[in-house]
């Protein structure tokens, strides 16, 4: 039974991987094509790419490729004509934590800082527990932005809420202002910050700075080159969909769907709608799940597993 499950999982994973690659190919084709059509230049002359310099062969970690970092001033503007939205399908999440790991790697974060957190939630005693990945909700009424005394955190025209850690004074008011415990503080100068040698940009939220606040940024530095945020790219289950809400389209890399239809058909909702923060992140309820909640404990590090000890589920199942 166990083996069977494993096999299913691995085959599923492989399929999705393939899908991802195919998806990437499509994207490449698509974006190339778009560029070609937009410019409407004849390409007949361009037969062979002229190679002027040879260049050393360099291995580049594909997981870390991003657009050239924009200036702080530029990061206030937002990507023109876009309004980003994320859809998280709780039915598919099995706490693989690949989103967390990829995000931490991409943002050069220490282990103790998670922009993406995966909770084990259980709404009431008799209701079923489920895994709940939680990025920043990039609210349309962001209380964190309202309360910032120096304008270090701001909302852009594309809906993304960013933090400028060159401006942040570290008062942490935004952290208490956010009802979703999204923001993290640099309690010390973590060595991971120094690994990032590139200049700072709020769009990359990296390198981090001691005594300032940071959080999930929807990875605009990846979006600018047509790549999905780290979490969406790396989820083996395709849990996280991302897109432009005005285009009414979201994708998890392998599957592209109409946002409105997805929300309609799967009864999508926003977390704690009652608070009036108007999040940009929607959840699809954990119905007809692909994995039992227990599968989320498999291969889990002890320290991570201990997090769920005090949850109602953890208590009844003696984690």
């Amino acid at each position: 039974m166990e083996d069977n499950n494993d096999n299913k999982k691995s085959s599923r994973r492989q399929f999705l991987k393939k899908g991802l690659i195919a998806g990437a190919g499509v994207v490449a084709g698509g974006s190339l094509l778009a560029a070609y059509v937009d410019k409407s230049k004849p390409t007949s002359g361009e037969k062979v790419k002229v190679l002027t310099t040879e260049g050393e062969l360099v291995e580049v970690d594909k997981a870390l490729i991003h657009s050239p970092r924009v200036s702080i001033e530029e990061s206030h503007k937002g990507i023109p004509g876009r309004k980003f939205v994320m859809v998280i399908d709780l039915a598919k999440c099995k706490n693989a934590r690949k989103c967390v790991e990829a995000c931490q790697k991409g943002h050069h974060l220490p282990r103790s800082q998670e922009f993406m957190k995966v909770y084990l939630l259980q709404d009431s005693e008799k209701s079923a527990p489920y895994w709940f990945p939680k990025p920043c909700f990039h609210c349309d009424n962001p209380l964190c932005v309202s309360v910032c005394p120096v304008g270090a955190t701001y909302k852009r025209s594309d809906g993304i809420v960013l933090i400028d850690n060159q401006r942040c004074i570290g008062c942490k008011f935004c952290m208490t202002g956010c009802p979703y415990s999204t923001r993290v503080f640099a309690w010390k100068d973590y060595p991971e910050y120094a690994e990032d040698k590139e200049p700072y940009s709020p769009e990359a939220s990296s390198p981090g700075k001691e005594g300032t606040v940071s959080k999930c940024d929807f990875c605009p530095d990846l979006v600018r080159i047509g790549k999905l945020p780290y979490c969406a790219q790396n989820c083996p289950m395709g849990v996280i969909y991302f897109g432009d809400i005005d285009e009414d389209t979201v994708t998890n890399g392998s599957e592209t769907l109409r946002f409105s239809e997805l929300i309609r058909d799967r009864s999508g909702y926003r977390y704690l709608e009652v608070l009036g923060t108007r999040p940009s992140v929607y959840y699809l309820p954990p119905v007809e799940r692909q994995f039992p909640v227990e599968s989320g404990f498999k291969d889990l590090e002890e320290s991570v597993k201990n997090r769920f000890k005090n949850t109602p589920y953890g208590k009844t199942h003696k984690l």
């Binding site: 309360v147 401006r167 952290m175 923001r183 005594g211 608070l275």
Partner: protein
Amino acid sequence: MENKDTKEKLLREFAPQLEKTSPATLVWILFLLGVIAWGVYAFVAQVTKGHIVTGMRDNVVWGIYIVNFIFFMGMSYAGAIISGTLQLFRTEWRKPIIRMAEYLAIISLLIGPGYILLCIGRLDRLHYLALFGRIQSPITWDVIAISTDIFGCLIFLYLSILRDIASLRDFSELKIPAWRKKIYSMLALGYTGLPEQVKRLRRATDIMATMVIAIAIIVYSVLAWIFSVTLQPGWHSTIFGPYFVIAAVYSGTGVLIIAMWVFRKVYRLDQYITRKHFVAMGVLMVVLAALFGYFTFSDYLTKWYGSEKNDESLIRILFTEYYWPFIFSNYIGVLIPLLVIGIPKLRTITNITLSALIVIVALWFNRYLIVIPTLESPYLPIQDSRPEWANYAGTWVEYALMAAGVALFCLMFTIASKFVPVMNVSEMSETPKTESSELFKTEESLL
């Protein structure tokens, strides 16, 4: 009108306070400096190693620093409101204690904001608050309000000590160095008690007393709004503004009673600060105790009765993990003054002072219970395997800096009392001294 002879007599009596420092006081000052040095050491540790040395983490982002901030600001506003009100109503018994209330207002106002600075991650960017200030942020309101308050309190204090400074300038028997005399002479602004000067001084003092009361209420409400504008279950409450103001005055009354007791002992002011004053302050404290109890009850009752999920979990934490601090701050801290003042037999100076001490500690815990348990019970449950990230516990750094703040408070009070008498000599000389000492002689004999 001022009675010149009474004034001379009073000045002669207070002169030793200003002239020399006793060895005991010197030891006391050295001790305070030692505590402050410990705080400086802790501060250096925090600056060099980062805020990781504190007990604060991503969930409980505000800890003892903010508690102390609220606490000291509360004392300040209490000082301001008490001195302002007593001044405006020309209450007779204010005279020996109003100076202490003014000192309390300004000294705690200078220390309080220091705690918010300790809480700030990047002190090097503090000037950004002025450079890039956003009017929408309650922190900006607070910065504006506190700086306005500091100016207001300084002006008010200055107006109030002006006559005493003039008296000290004119008091030829005072044996102090020339430079100090020069300072008195400069600060006295040539005040000689001309009718025109008296008129203007009184007008200015009354206006500033009104301002100080108004600002104290606004500023402390602003401080409360820092908490209540957020959506956190324990903070998001409309009652917080008035609740904080009342709690502030309540705790400040306690501190004032302690200050009265201490100065009475140290400077032997038994004949000026009498049981009458303690009882009067005690009655004020009881009124505030009742109000504070009422607000506390209203706040928790509404949360408990509806028992919304997050409110309920907060109240559960308060009645389990924080059971004793909760009982102490919200039951004992309210009931003890009610009993002590309510039963005439218990109304002794010692009892009133002791209950004041209980009130102060209780109110400190009250703030602790407002700040920390709320942050420990956010909407999304804290799921962290590291205990220090889930539950807050102050570290030595925070307690050292808390002790340093209290020490600084005491030190500043001590130094201030060495500069201008802790009693308003000019005002006290306006009435025959006998009234205060003889009328209540019978009551004093009860002590």
